[in-house]
Symmetry: C2
Subunit: 218 residues, 2 copies
């Protein structure tokens, strides 16, 4: 078999980020400096440079997000996969917590009673407990749709909305909706326009922010 | 806010799969029938149609994989994220188990002693316990490189290798290497050529196979 040169994980990450920066330059991508860490980490996670144009940010979303991430944040995810992907040592360093209520028995019960998806019921539970949480949605458009309803009808104002569900039904529309509403209500949001996204993208955005919050250097 | 039409999750999945099939047709993608469920589920997970050409299969990989998946499979993942993404009810239905050894204390210790990555040490642990496992690697090229070494030097023959790490350093090469070696040794492999892949892709491939194994119908 061929011989591979072994590298330290941090060296690999540094080299990967340099490759990403170089290729973004070659593409002529213009990314505001404050958004760079998020965009580069999503590309690092997906090897998909389309995120250089798909990712959109409400004004000062990253600086608001960093304030939230530094102040004992509560992150709510819509999958256990996104929860698993969030860097726990960094989260611990900022005194943060992460919850996913999707598999909870009371959420299943609530969804059945109200005839909604479990994602909708999980958002209801999360908002009741942590109305100012960081909501990281990488899977369920119904989670974003419910969050939009609660913002509009109940005055809910999350610290940050990471709106990156992936898919083919209601996904594009739910992301445009939450983005417009976030801008209208002055809520910070980071959204992956179009069909693409996912639990890995939601986790990558959280991690990019957490790494900046704790001042992690490669 | 706009009104969204609510759908049952299975309806959404059926509609999504129909959209994917239609667009694959429009692209002129030619996918062998036995590979279709895997390719479509990866696109469903990523909304990225590049996987129609990136995913490569050793001969009869899917039928061999299905035999393995039906027979109390042990799946080894290289991230807790991939582990979290694997459908547990389906896995239970086939009497299967999934393990990720990456965060184990003895793996960290072994990596330190031998001067390797944790992914390398985790493969050593997994192969010692379950040499015929299904190895689902969505993250660490060093996991694939170690697996290739053990196949070549120790005669290890996994039931299936899912080789879909994502990234920019050693990733493309490690996937080409495992693919060539799998073909040479008659081991079944499903590999995402190029830089793309990820824990979500690894989990999606496992789930596509599990759903076929249990005869799940949408």
């Amino acid at each position: 078999m061929k011989h591979f040169q072994y590298h330290l994980p941090t060296d690999i990450e540094r080299e990967s980020m340099a490759t990403i920066a170089r290729e973004l330059g070659q593409m002529g991508a213009v990314i505001p400096e404050e958004n760079e860490a998020v965009v580069k980490r999503v590309i690092h996670t997906t090897a998909d440079f389309e995120y250089a144009k798909n990712l959109v940010f409400t004004p000062q979303a990253v600086s608001h997000a960093l304030s939230a991430m530094k102040d004992r944040p509560v992150i709510i995810t819509d999958t256990n996969m996104a929860l698993a992907g969030i860097n726990k040592p960094a989260l611990e360093q900022v005194g943060g917590k992460v919850h996913c209520f999707m598999a909870d028995a009371d959420v299943a019960e609530m969804a059945r009673e109200n005839g909604t998806t479990r994602a909708t019921a999980a958002i209801d539970k999360a908002v009741a407990l942590y109305p100012k949480a960081i909501f990281a949605c990488g899977n369920a458009p119904t989670a974003l749709i419910r969050l939009a309803q609660l913002m509009e009808e109940k005055g809910v104002r999350p610290s940050l909305i990471i709106g990156v569900p992936v898919g083919f039904v209601n996904v594009v529309e739910s992301k445009e909706e939450i983005l417009a509403l976030a801008e209208e209500k002055g809520v910070s949001a980071i959204v992956a326009r179009g069909r693409k996204g996912g639990s890995n993208v939601a986790a990558a955005i959280c991690n990019a922010l957490l790494y900046e919050a704790v001042g992690r250097r490669l």
